[in-house]
């Protein structure tokens, strides 16, 4: 460590405020000090060796974000103390081994219990818990063979930083084309400071033969709190992408603001599945992750299809509306969602289906489950533009309440500007009945298992949209998320 840095840190810790000089050009530094200004952004961009256009884009986003001070969304049914954006740290290098737990013995036993219940192998447990592992993990070799196979087909699957270097023309063309840098408070922040994420390009006519999963590179880059994902399916191609992991992941950052953009050209199909299980906080909701995510897909071409499936069980606050812009004629958008909240968790989630092309179709199936003192809100928009002749939407929103202290809310918006459109909305709210629980218990199934069984039944339509191996884990996850919600 240079003398200059030491001095910088000394000043910083002494004054308890930001050290303003010296670090910007010092690319050797591992972390940016807390706070956010142009220099922070230049630092991040320099750290990543980015081209000028990307830095310019980030700075534009930052300028916009500064003007958005009053635009932090307040319309969601979420309550949380004001976030101190200047107190957050926007770039930190992965932790060194010295700071990480040496073995599973040093890891929170509660976390280990959950891994146990999910049936996660020991090696993976170590990885997920952030244990410093020396041995080369199996998945590295798996990932390599996997990458070779994809390369043969011309499929690009890499981190977005790598894509910026290797495929700048694709990134420059599509980045921000679905979620513009000025889109919303959190997306704009992400555009300014995103650190990493995934990039996928599937060439014309190629059907990706395997589920692409972030799981494979879980021990590679620490994608951090401002993740940026870009998936492009060229004409006639198909890809299924899995994001997240059923296992709760260790994360030091409370604020998460990711952006995901999907682009499906003519006759292309993208299936995007998420299992989100960030730390929800303790029983009182302390310390949980705030998750503000902007996910949007554009069906640019005719007959394109984008399907979102999400299982949201974690985070203290979830603000998330994976949406589809149906530009191409006959294009199809789908949204399948399970949102489970327990204890003090709050979720405000749903989708937007924007019908622009003719005969565009969308389907929304939302299952909200609330327990404890949690709040679960479905918020959705179906908009039919004037040109969208023959557009159709079907929305089904079901809420299940467990206990008497939780809340479920449904806020559907429908805007139809074409008289030929057909929009249907169905909604139900139910409680797990005493009769159902008694029946299960009389058959020897204990109360928690009974709740899990009933809830899994309630979610079945969505669970069956998940890829097979994910679905099994997701079912277990549903059960674990609701532990302690009855009795």
């Amino acid at each position: 460590m240079s003398a200059q840095q030491e001095a910088a840190q000394a000043v910083e810790s002494y004054a308890g405020e930001r050290y303003k000089y010296g670090f910007v050009t010092d690319v050797e530094a591992d972390s940016a000090p807390p706070g956010l200004d142009q220099d922070t952004i230049r630092f991040i961009s320099a750290k990543k060796g980015e081209p000028e256009w990307l830095l310019a884009w980030r700075l534009k986003a930052f300028e916009r974000w500064l003007q958005m001070e009053d635009e932090e969304p307040t319309w969601a049914k979420l309550h949380y103390p004001p976030i101190d954006y200047q107190g957050a740290c926007y770039y930190s290098a992965p932790k060194s081994d010295a700071d990480r737990p040496k073995s599973l013995d040093e890891v929170d036993p509660e976390l280990l219990k959950t891994y146990e219940k999910l049936g996660i192998p020991l090696q993976e447990q170590e990885m997920l818990a952030g244990v410093a592992v020396d041995a080369v993990f199996d998945s590295v070799s798996v990932a390599t063979t996997f990458k070779d196979k994809l390369a043969e087909l011309g499929i690009i699957f890499c981190s977005i930083s790598e894509a910026v270097k290797e495929h700048p023309e694709l990134v420059q063309r599509y980045l921000g084309s679905v979620v513009p840098y000025s889109d919303n408070f959190f997306a704009t922040l992400n555009s300014a400071v995103f650190t990493d994420g995934s990039f996928v390009y599937v060439p014309k006519g190629v059907r990706c033969p395997m589920e692409l999963s972030t799981y494979f590179r879980i021990n590679a880059a620490n994608t951090g709190q401002f993740e940026r994902t870009l998936v492009i399916a060229d004409e006639g191609s198909y890809v299924s992408y899995l994001e997240g992991c059923t296992a709760p992941m260790r994360d030091e950052n409370q604020l998460h603001a990711a952006v995901v953009e999907l682009i499906a050209l003519d006759d292309a199909e993208i299936k995007y599945s998420t299992v989100q299980n960030w730390y929800p906080g303790d029983a009182e909701g302390r310390g949980g992750i705030y998750n503000f995510v902007t996910k949007r897909g554009a069906c640019r071409g005719a007959n394109a299809k984008i399907s979102w499936t999400q299982v949201e069980t974690g985070s203290a606050i979830t603000w998330k509306y994976p949406s589809c812009i149906l530009q191409g004629d006959n294009s199809v958008g789908e949204f399948y969602s399970i949102a489970i909240t327990n204890n003090r968790q709050q979720a405000d989630t749903g989708t937007k289906m924007i019908h622009m092309g003719r005969n565009t179709k969308s389907r929304i199936v939302s299952k909200g489950i609330a327990a404890g003192r949690s709040d679960s809100t479905y918020r959705g928009l179906v908009r039919i533009q004037p040109r969208a002749e023959g557009a159709r939407n079907h929305t089904q929103c079901d809420s299940l309440l467990i206990g008497a202290t939780c809340g479920a809310h449904t806020v559907p918006y429908i805007e139809s500007r074409n008289p030929t459109a057909r929009v249907e909305h169905e909604a139900t709210t139910s409680k797990i009945s005493e009769d159902q629980l008694f029946y299960c218990r009389q058959r020897g199934i204990d109360e928690e298992d009974a709740v899990a069984l009933i809830v899994n039944g309630f979610c079945r339509e969505v669970l069956q949209e998940l890829p097979m191996e994910f679905a099994v884990e997701a079912q277990k996850l549903v059960a674990i998320s609701l532990e302690g919600s009855v009795g």
């Binding site: 029946y439 069984l453 079945r460």
Partner: protein, 252 residues
Amino acid sequence: MLTIENLHATADGKPILNGLDLQVNAGEVHAVMGPNGSGKSTLSYVIAGREGYEVTQGSIAYQGQDLLAMSVEERALSGVFLAFQYPVEIPGVGSATFFKTAVNAARKHRGEKEYDAMEFLKLIREKRAALGIDDGMMRRALNVGFSGGEKKRNEMLQMALLEPTLAILDETDSGLDIDALKVVASGINGMRAPERAMVVITHYQRLLDHVVPDKVHVLSSGRIVRSGGSELALELERSGYAGLGLESSAAA
């Protein structure tokens, strides 16, 4: 096996059972008959341990244990089975999935290896055939959209799968046509065994044409007022509850 002494119980605070005594031994089938509102369903719920049914006096011993001290699932796991008068619908939960969960909970409790999907499929195929239940029913959500007869047959199938020590059948015959009634009756007869006791609760005598009980009890105003052999059921059939000097009370 089951000894009920001076049982007083309330349902939602209202006294229903008023000093009921009943002794059922292993290998026996008892019929408990009575007019509406006599406390038949309350008796079955108290034995199963349903919330809202409070025992204010008396005791129930099951296999020498204090049944009332056990939770609902403990009772179930130790072999007490209740065939419901109104089986509950559970949307989205496949019948086969539900049965497997229940059977494996019992096996786990007994320290036996849980069945995997293939083993369970084999077991259920055997039991199903005996009750004339088709495979389609297994794939549907539990009791959802089932006819009255299908629901009751489903209860019989669960009894066959769980092989209880003490089975309480709460008006399993109600609302059945004669074919379904025969299926249910053969289900009950097929389960008769020296180590098993059954209590068949019924309003009508007609089930007892097919299931011949060892003992018949008449329940009225929360007490057993007459006990006898199977001939008592026939007597009731001829003279009705009024003939025994009993009236249907208003409460169902």
